[in-house]
C-alpha cells in the first residue's frame, strides 16, 4: 500500500516537473495522463528527457543511467523507475 502511494506521489511530481521544465500548456499534474507516450504523443525528445532526468536526479538523489532513457516513454514508467531506484538505495 505504501509503495502504491509513493508511486502515485512520484507520478504527480514527475508530471509537475515535466510541465514546468518543458513549458507544457493545457495540462496540469492532475490531468496529465501517466500512460500517454511522451515521445509520440507529447513530442518530447532526448534533450527534454535529459533535462527532466537532471531535475529528478536532484530531487530524489538517484542515479539515472543515460542508457535507461529509451525505456522511460511515459510518466508511469518514469515514476516506477524512480520508485525502484529509491527502494534499491534504501
Amino acid at each position: 500500500m505504501t509503495t502504491a502511494i509513493d508511486v502515485e506521489s512520484i507520478t504527480l511530481r514527475v508530471a509537475e516537473i515535466m510541465i514546468e521544465e518543458l513549458k507544457l500548456e493545457d495540462v496540469t499534474p492532475a490531468t496529465f495522463d501517466p500512460e500517454i507516450d511522451l515521445i509520440d504523443e507529447v513530442g518530447i525528445d532526448s534533450m527534454d528527457l535529459a533535462t527532466v532526468a537532471l531535475v529528478l536526479r536532484d530531487e530524489y538523489a538517484i542515479r539515472i543511467d543515460e542508457d535507461d532513457y529509451p525505456k522511460l516513454t511515459n510518466i508511469r514508467l518514469i515514476s516506477e523507475y524512480v520508485d525502484k531506484k529509491l527502494k534499491n538505495a534504501s
Partner: protein, 355 residues
C-alpha cells in the same frame, strides 16, 4: 587547464545557481526543438576534392531527382514526421538552386554545405557553410581549384548566412593562420572542421597524434587572436582533436552507430540520397566516413550536444558543454548570436583524459 575529477557530487540546481551558467542554459535550451536530417540534393560538383566524403560509397551513384514537386513533397513529409531542420549537402547544392528554394519554402531552418564558388541567392535564408581546405596553393593542389578563397569571399563577404569552415588536414595546419587572418580582415565568420578519413582512405590527409596536438594549439591560438571572427570554444578544440574520435568519446548517436530507434537521432535522423531514398544502416551526417576517425564538426554538433546529462556533473564540465552548444547554434542557426565563452581553458571530456 581545469580538471573535472573533483569528488563533489553536484546537483544540477547547484550548477545552475551560477548566473552566467543559468543565462547560457536558458539561452541554448530554447533550441532543443531542433530535429535534423540531411539531404544530398545533387550528385554533381563543380570541383573534385581529395578525400571528399560524397564520392565514396554507393551514394555518389544515386540518380538526381530534379523535380521540385518531389522535393516539396519530401519536405512536407519530413515536417510531418517531426523534422524541423535540414542540412542540404553533397555533392554541390549551389548547382540546384531551384531545389534549395523549395526546401527553404517548406522548412525554414537549415544549412547548405557548399564550396562557395557559385553564389546562392539571399532569398534562401539558410546558413551557408563554405568549405576551405587550406590556402590557395593547397586548394589548387587538393581541390584543383584556383583562387578559391578570394572567390568565396567575393561571393559571401558581409553575408550574415555565411560561415567559412576550415577543414584541418594533416597537411594544412599552419596555413590556417594565413586563412584566418584573411577572413578576419574581410569580416567573415570562421569555424573549424577536422578531416575525417572516408572508409578505406589511404591518402596523406589523415590525422596523426602529432597533427591532432598541433591542430589543437592553432585552433586555440586563432580563437584567442580573432574572437570576433572565429566561432569556436576551447572545448570544441579538445573534443575534435582528442586522440580518441567522437564515437569513442561520446558514443555516436546517429543511426549508423546507434541501433536504438526509441528516441533522439536514432529515431528521427535520416540521410537522403539525391534520388530521395535513404538507408538506416548508412545514416549519419557524413556517410562513408571511417567512424573510428570521425571528428567531423557536423557530427560533433549533434553527438556532443545530445550528451547533456553526462556533462551536467560539475560547473566546469557543464560550462564547457554550454560553450560547445552555443557555438553549434551560432554556426547552424540563422539569427543566433554567439555569447562569450564561459571557459577560456581546456576541460576534459567526461570520464576521459583531457587530450
Amino acid at each position: 587547464m581545469k580538471d573535472n575529477l573533483s569528488n563533489k557530487e553536484w546537483k544540477f540546481s547547484e550548477i545552475l545557481a551560477d548566473q552566467k551558467i543559468r543565462a547560457k542554459w536558458d539561452k541554448v535550451r530554447k533550441y532543443f526543438f531542433l530535429r535534423e536530417s540531411t539531404y544530398d540534393i545533387a550528385n554533381r560538383c563543380n570541383i573534385r576534392c581529395e578525400g571528399c566524403y560524397y564520392y565514396e560509397g554507393d551514394k555518389q551513384f544515386a540518380e538526381e531527382n530534379r523535380d521540385p514537386a518531389a522535393w516539396r513533397e519530401l519536405m512536407r513529409a519530413e515536417k510531418a514526421r517531426g523534422i524541423t531542420y535540414v542540412v542540404l549537402a553533397g555533392a554541390e547544392p549551389s548547382l540546384v538552386p531551384e531545389l534549395c528554394k523549395v526546401c527553404f519554402q517548406e522548412m525554414p531552418l537549415g544549412t547548405i554545405a557548399t564550396n562557395g564558388l557559385k553564389f546562392i541567392s539571399g532569398s534562401i535564408n539558410y546558413k551557408i557553410h563554405i568549405s576551405v581546405w587550406g590556402n590557395d596553393a593547397t586548394s589548387s593542389k587538393v581541390r584543383d581549384a584556383k583562387n578559391m578563397l578570394p572567390r568565396q569571399i567575393e561571393n559571401y563577404q558581409g553575408d550574415p548566412r555565411a560561415v567559412f569552415v576550415y577543414t584541418f588536414t594533416h597537411d594544412n595546419i599552419d596555413q590556417a593562420r594565413e586563412v584566418a587572418g584573411i577572413l578576419a580582415e574581410h569580416g567573415c565568420k570562421l569555424t573549424f572542421n577536422m578531416f575525417s578519413a572516408p572508409v578505406g582512405y589511404e591518402g596523406q590527409l589523415r590525422h596523426t597524434v602529432s597533427s591532432l596536438n598541433q591542430t589543437r594549439k592553432i585552433m586555440i591560438e586563432l580563437l584567442e587572436e580573432y574572437p570576433a571572427s572565429v566561432l569556436f570554444s576551447h572545448y570544441n578544440a579538445v573534443a575534435h582533436t582528442h586522440q580518441s574520435g567522437l564515437h569513442d568519446l561520446y558514443s555516436c548517436s546517429y543511426p549508423r552507430m546507434n541501433p536504438s530507434t526509441d528516441i533522439g537521432l536514432g529515431r528521427s535522423f535520416r540521410q537522403y540520397r539525391a534520388d530521395l531514398t535513404w538507408n538506416r544502416v548508412a545514416a549519419c551526417c557524413v556517410p562513408d566516413t571511417d567512424c573510428a576517425d570521425c571528428r567531423h564538426y557536423a557530427s560533433g554538433s549533434a553527438i556532443i550536444t545530445a550528451r547533456l546529462f553526462r556533462h551536467a556533473t560539475d560547473p566546469e564540465t557543464f560550462k564547457a558543454w554550454l560553450d560547445y552548444v552555443d557555438t553549434y547554434l551560432a554556426i547552424w542557426v540563422m539569427g543566433y548570436e554567439k555569447s562569450d565563452n564561459l571557459c577560456r581553458y581546456v576541460v576534459a571530456p567526461p570520464g576521459q583524459p583531457v587530450f
